[in-house]
Chain length 466, copies 2
């Protein structure tokens, strides 16, 4: 690329990422030359080239302006990610596209046969007999009242005291968070995320074109000093987290951190979104920010994708009464309604005695899988960051002699999909980390394949070892 082409490329990147949009003024020739460390004449030539390409126009006395049409919102252009393996959207799509034959050791959901399929089949059959009105009609704006009443009772047991009118059903947890981002954010706002955090939060925030500040996550919640500092420096508007069982670390928020966070959030006049979709896996109650602050500066999100079905989707938003009407308006405007049939099926499963039993058995099965996974991983020198109290995730560090690219490619070859640590974090902090799904790890071939992969990827292995 010549220098002139480099300048054009730079402006093109600005257009693609929508930092420059139609009608906006380009930087002056002089300031761009200084910024890119090129001569003024190089930039002049580049601008002239772009003028003749019809990308920009010159207005006498006031400079150069964009006249190219607006670029569509292409997430991969917003800030191009060099390593495709770390692109959160590529990871999500790879996992969503994976056939049932692969070992999805890196995914965020249970194996199909761990899910309550008989209960689901029965609830579906029962719902097929519902009234024509329920089967055919749009839902009411808030959603099925009996399900919201049930959710309110379940929330009471977590000390989140709300009426059913404070619960808004939606099609999923992700959609719920998106709706809240629309409600509370403007492009350019700042949002705090845990580091590491669920990778799709980053993708979602790209859509909202906000600035993300990462706060280091410790084994009992975010680093409070770093959280304070981020508030002082960046005036964030929102903090999105999982406090019950944290994704990807499996950590649990401590009482003391929860208390400190609630105070900080209140003083900073910001809002926390508590994404609690793993809460049904919990074995002992951990604090919830929404319980502590009484939904004053917090919004609670739930869903059934992890424990009931990811195919019949249903999520919900719990918020203060003052905000419900505005959120309904946004929901009606952007998707009109939600899947009412799913809400009916889920209500039937949840009120059937079998569900509680299923969850109890699931917790025991997960506890066993946790012990086995830790044991098998430690044997091949993969070290859990913490021993989670519950849940499906194990966040692990690899020894330094492992070439992570080789590990990945060996596993991919053998039909095993891993989740690389870096995709959950900012920059390259988690280079040597992996998130394991302990339920998916129970696949009979998994640990043997991983053991071979570790040998193959070790830089210390003797030359004749393969």
């Amino acid at each position: 690329m010549t220098k002139i082409e480099q300048v054009i490329h730079y402006v093109d990147q600005q257009l693609k990422s929508r930092r420059l949009t139609p009608g906006m003024r380009l930087p002056s020739v002089r300031s761009l030359a200084k910024q890119l460390n090129f001569s003024v004449s190089t930039v002049v030539n580049a601008y002239e080239r772009m003028l003749s390409m019809g990308l920009i126009e010159s207005r006498a006395g006031s400079g150069f302006f964009v006249c190219a049409p607006l670029e569509p919102l292409i997430l991969s252009h917003i800030e191009p990610i060099q390593d495709q393996n770390l692109d959160p959207l590529k990871i999500s799509r790879q996992l969503l596209e994976a056939s049932s034959f692969l070992i999805k050791a890196g995914c965020g959901w249970l194996p199909d046969d761990w899910m309550p399929h008989e209960a689901l089949r029965k609830a579906i059959r029962d719902t097929s007999k519902d009234s024509v009105f329920e089967l055919m009609n749009y839902s009411s704006p808030l959603g099925l009242s009996s399900l919201r009443e049930l959710l309110a009772r379940r929330l009471h047991t977590k000390d989140i005291n709300v009426t059913p009118e404070q619960i808004l059903l939606t099609d999923s947890g992700s959609y719920s968070i998106d709706l809240i981002c629309r409600f509370l954010l403007k492009p350019g706002d700042t949002v705090l995320l845990d580091d590491p955090c669920y990778f799709n939060f980053r993708a979602l925030l790209k859509v909202h074109q906000v600035k993300v500040i990462s706060v280091r996550y410790t084994p009992d919640g975010p680093d409070i000093e770093a959280f304070k500092q981020a508030i002082i420096e960046h005036h964030p508007r929102l903090y999105i987290t999982n406090s019950g069982i944290h994704n990807p670390t499996g950590a649990t928020l401590s009482q003391s951190k929860a208390h400190q966070l609630v105070s900080l959030i209140e003083h900073a006049n910001m809002v926390v979104v508590e994404d609690d979709i793993f809460s049904d896996f919990e074995t002992s109650a951990s604090p919830r920010l929404s319980a502590l602050d009484g939904l004053k500066n917090s919004i609670y999100i739930g869903s059934f994708s992890k424990t009931l079905s990811a195919s019949l989707r249903c999520g919900y938003i719990v918020t203060k009464s003052e905000w419900i009407d505005y959120l309904i308006d946004l929901k009606v405007a952007t998707s009109f309604s939600h899947n009412n049939f799913s809400a009916h099926v889920l209500y039937k499963i949840l009120t059937h005695g079998g569900y509680r039993k299923h969850i109890e058995q699931l917790k025991i099965r997960l506890a066993d899988a946790m012990i086995i996974s830790i044991h098998r991983l430690e044997k091949i020198r993969i070290q859990p960051w913490i021993r989670p109290k519950a849940g499906i995730f194990l966040w692990c560090e690899l020894p330094t002699d492992i070439n992570i690219q080789k590990l990945m490619s060996y596993c991919t070859e053998k039909g095993v999909i891993l989740a690389l640590g870096n995709s959950f974090g900012e920059a390259h902090t988690f280079q040597n980390f992996l998130r394991f799904n302990i339920a998916q790890c129970m696949h009979p071939d998994f640990f043997n394949i991983l053991e071979d992969a570790m040998q193959y990827a070790s830089m210390n292995r003797p030359l004749n070892s393969l």
Copy 2:
């Protein structure tokens, strides 16, 4: 309100509608005084009051800046609507909240018992026997391939020639349009809408904070001269329409208008979103913009809410190959997946012989309802704007002696919900119009109630007539 309070109220409105956001500079005292036609000292006093309230701050030499926190995105604050009866979101919510006992003569969907409930129940039961993988797992990003293959074949019959890989399943038609708005729009862009048009388009575009320009709709499509003029004056980026069966008018696009529109859209480098959710009601093929331009500058939207079920929702986007990947990314980032169960159920109904028969019978039933409705309405002096070729809508004009508020309140009292013309249009162009749903009008009591309401609301009625 004192003059000072009026200034504060004005600034508060700017904050609520997010036209002023944190960190933005307020207009200078002098310019605001001029704009509101108040004295400079009034504005100075108002600014001082707001300073002490902590809403704004003063920076030496550079003016006053907003320091109030960002207002949430409250749609009803964006541009407050004086008459609640005309607020598109209030209308949608009223219809969604309406119980099955009301006569929803103004709604946009069929009565429950006109829907294929036996076929739906059977398809649900059949789907309950599907593999655990299908019942429990997230869908692939594009969605059920057999359904997309079927849709591609159906689209071929409309001369829209696409591969299944150009079809993206979503949870609804509304969600699909929202996703496209996210992809192609930025706040401040201009979008063309038909006047009148489906009221929820306006609500959706408020969320995207774009400028809406209305183009008069004629009995065979938009007024081409007005469309041209709007392009020249406003450089729109998008045009959203229903070309098959237009909502609310029931009109059909003519070949000649379709051809002219495609040329105009191509020259203006804009995109048309063709929302074709009523297409299964069509009795003879009318032109589709997406067929004419080969999806070059058009995107096609479909859904099954109107003909199969509004409870088990499923919609889809049809677009050129180059855009599919970007739309998948946006879908994954904002809602991760969609309801895969619904896609399976709908596929089973669509491939079952019963569906075609159901639609054929439905069309005959609708044709009858159209004749009856026109006859009954004309008898009470309510004049259809056109006689639609097909569909469920009849767009009608009331005689000038009718007090529309009285008509509404009488009907509401009797459990009949009407859709006022003004809610579909800009300003007060459609003061004397109503949109009727001819299927809902077949309720045995409807025309009698409406006849009484017309008498009650007529300003010519003799004083002793009630």
